[in-house]
């Protein structure tokens, strides 16, 4: 893939690292349903790798195969240089940290007790108190899990994944359902882990999460990777930096709009249009002129920087959260 070396120094240095994880031609079928359909992935040591996609894209199934919890129908997985089911599973589990999407920890047990329990499963790792500080739950250390807020519960779940100071951390939609503040706090925890040199595989359907945390992102849909690269590369692949969203009263001839210099792609959205452009400074006046020429009345107009969401919409014609 082509990339500008100057803009991606971190990824380039990561690519010199050995692989933390690799899977080849992964397929998982549940009866008639194919959840994962021929997936290839490589994650470098020290990298935060994002699996971005709508609900049902096969992210969780993929991650659970990588974690050794689900056996793939076909294909191979190598985690930290080892394969699952070859007698080294326990040793492998010592070195990975896992946060599952749906786990609800026991409610009657306190934060510190939960972490101490998980710590006892590992031969080596962090002190309980240290893990509590790491996820910023000092004040809640003696609170029962049932009394924690959603964000605190998620941080506890991540804490349980960090007790063994893992080399590779799996996070499955860690911030789904959290309010912005709680999400921000969890992002800081994840960034701290990444800063200490750990590798991460993270699934999410929040583009801003992937953009902020991930070195590289694989966009998944229907069990396949449909795009792979750094967030900047993927956005650059649109050939555009801005999106102009607008709505008009009455009908619109679409063809002249796409032919405006600097415009790339016009698609209709919920009650309006989205025009992908590479140079908003020249396109926007031209667009307004064209609307005037067509004698259509502009009702709303907003612009934003292109995001991974736009990449996904561009590739699939659907919004990420539509599922």
């Amino acid at each position: 893939m082509s990339m500008e070396p100057a803009s991606e120094p971190r990824v380039n240095s990561l690519m010199a690292q050995p692989l933390a994880l690799r899977c080849v031609a992964l397929v998982k079928r549940f009866g008639d349903v194919t959840a994962v359909n021929g997936l290839d992935l490589e994650v470098y040591t020290g990298e935060c790798f994002g699996l971005l996609g709508p609900n049902g894209a096969g992210k969780t199934t993929t991650v659970e195969i990588l974690e050794g919890l689900t056996v793939p129908t076909t294909g191979s997985v190598e985690v930290l240089g080892r394969k699952w089911g070859e007698g080294a599973d326990r040793g492998l589990r010592e070195r990975i940290g896992v946060q599952l999407q749906e786990t609800q920890l026991a409610e009657k047990v306190t934060v510190a007790e939960t972490i101490r329990l998980f710590r006892s499963f590992y031969l080596r790792g962090r002190e309980v108190e240290e893990v509590i500080r790491l996820v910023d739950l000092d004040e809640k250390r003696n609170a029962r899990v049932g009394k924690l807020s959603g964000g605190q519960k998620q941080r506890l779940a991540v804490a349980c994944a960090l007790v063994n100071a893992p080399d590779l951390l799996f996070l499955d939609e860690p911030t789904t359902g959290l309010d912005p503040q709680a999400r921000l706090k969890l992002w800081e925890v994840i960034e701290r882990f990444r800063g200490s040199g750990g590798s991460i595989v993270l699934t999410t359907h929040y583009m801003e999460e992937a953009e902020r945390l991930c070195d590289r992102v694989a966009i998944m849909d229907h069990g396949c990777v449909i795009a792979l690269g750094t967030p900047n590369e993927l956005i650059a692949s649109l050939g555009a930096e801005q999106i102009i969203e607008f709505s008009v009263a009455g009908t619109l001839q679409e063809k002249p709009l796409v032919e405006l210099p600097g415009a790339h792609n016009l698609r209709s959205t919920n009650g309006g249009y989205a025009l992908t452009v590479s140079n908003i400074g020249t396109v926007l006046p031209a667009l307004l002129d064209e609307l005037e020429r067509q004698q259509t009345k502009l009702e709303t107009l907003t612009t934003h920087q292109a995001t991974l969401e736009d990449v996904f919409v561009n590739l699939t014609g659907r919004m990420l959260r539509d599922g």
Binding site: L69, G91, E102, Q104, A106, K108, R124, R126, A165, S196
Partner: protein
């Protein structure tokens, strides 16, 4: 891209990257200890569970103990029919007076309708129907009627009985009433026997009941206590989360058995203590033997509980299975009445049930005071159930 090192040495790139990591420096408790502690904490912090395990058996033994308490032999209630007919009335009052002299009989004067209703509903054991003197003693259709032609010195009356011979208390009433009335009519005993009455602890119903209740409680708390917790944890994906750690799976299952054994002691002590205080039930064998039987019983039903909870995904599913497993033992294992009452062909099957083995050995130790060694077959049955269940549960356990 794509360099795959064949042997990534453990800890290679990160040894110095994380200053917080102190491999081997942590003082760390054993996972089995932590798992068991977690089980104990979860249990103690669940007030409902505490009630069902500790208070419920005490309440149950209290209720049953009161219902079946030994208050001396109860009087037999007997209906004496009376009607508007004058002769009948005077006969009825003579009969009632004769019966009232007996210490075992409580006569009730009733109309024929009331008497029939009382017999049907079990309020009276027998109906005495005075004869109209005109039909007199010459009518002999009832073989047990007053066939004695000798005239009485006090009064003369005649009567018939009406009762259900399949009811033991009716047959008893028939004998007692007839005895009382015949004496009143002048029959005398050839020999007067002396009664020696015995009611010693160890032979009462409550003495039979308490070991059975302990057995029933060990079964119930073992099965329900484990089944619900495991299936709930499975539903909450907690088991899957544990499966993603290097935790040994046998440790997880063993922690349930260990936590059960801790509570067993308290549970059984509560029932035994209550039975001793309230009903004077005593342990005739050694307390060590009782403890050993309790532990083995607890182990057995923990194993069985693990097995039943090994696969179901829902609480409804596991409840059905639990009932399926426990119902035969509720009925057959001799908790409330002796299992010897069931037909002989069923006995080998009944004896192979773990609750029968537990009840039998608990009774042998508590009531007969025999040693454990003489119970080896029951102990063997329990151990076999427990160990096999645990081994199968470990093998087929569903972690997701």
């Amino acid at each position: 891209m794509g360099k795959t090192p064949q042997n990534l040495p453990k800890n290679d790139s990160r040894d110095n990257s994380s200053p917080t990591q102190k491999p081997g420096a942590t003082k760390q408790s054993h996972p089995l200890v932590e798992l068991t502690l977690t089980r104990v904490r979860e249990f103690l912090r669940e007030p409902e569970a505490l009630f069902w395990v500790f208070a419920f058996p005490v309440l149950l033994s209290c209720a049953l103990g009161l219902a079946f308490r030994n208050t001396g032999p109860e009087k037999l209630r007997v209906a004496v029919e009376s009607s508007s007919d004058e002769t009948m009335q005077s006969n009825a009052s003579l009969i009632t007076a004769a019966l009232a002299r007996s210490p075992d009989i409580e006569p009730v004067v009733s109309t024929p309708e009331e008497a029939v209703r009382g017999l049907r509903s079990g309020k009276v054991a027998l109906i005495v129907r005075p004869r109209n003197n005109h039909e007199s003693a010459s009518s002999q259709e009832h073989p047990t009627g007053t066939s004695n032609p000798a005239e009485t010195k006090n009064a003369y009356f005649s009567f018939d009985y009406r009762y259900d011979p399949t009811r033991p208390e009716s047959r008893m009433a028939r004998l007692a009433v007839d005895d009382a009335l015949q004496r009143a009519l002048g029959r005398s005993d050839r020999v007067v026997a002396r009664d020696e009455q015995v009611t010693e602890p160890g032979a009462r119903y409550i003495d039979f009941l308490i070991p059975g209740l302990i057995g029933l409680n060990l079964m119930g708390s073992g099965m329900w206590g484990l089944g619900f917790v495991i299936v709930t944890a499975r539903g909450r994906k907690l088991l899957k989360r544990f499966a993603a750690t290097p935790m040994r799976r046998s440790h997880y299952l063993l922690s349930f058995i260990f936590s059960r054994l801790i509570f067993l002691a308290v549970e059984v002590a509560a029932v035994l203590g209550f039975a001793w205080l309230a009903f004077g039930v005593v342990v005739r064998g050694s307390l060590v033997a009782v403890t050993v039987v309790t532990l083995i019983g607890g182990l057995t039903f923990s194993g069985l509980g693990l097995l039943v909870a090994a696969r179901p995904r829902t609480v409804e599913g596991v409840s059905g299975l639990m009932n399926l497993v426990m119902l035969p033992m509720w009925l057959l294992s001799g908790t409330f009445f002796s299992s010897a009452r069931f037909p002989t062909p069923l006995q080998p099957f009944i004896k192979a049930l773990p609750l029968t083995a537990l009840n039998d050995s608990m009774r042998a130790v508590m009531n007969d005071g025999v040693s454990l060694a003489s119970n080896w077959s029951q102990v063997g049955v329990m151990l076999a159930w427990g160990v096999l269940s645990f081994a199968i549960a470990l093998r087929i356990f569903r972690w997701q």
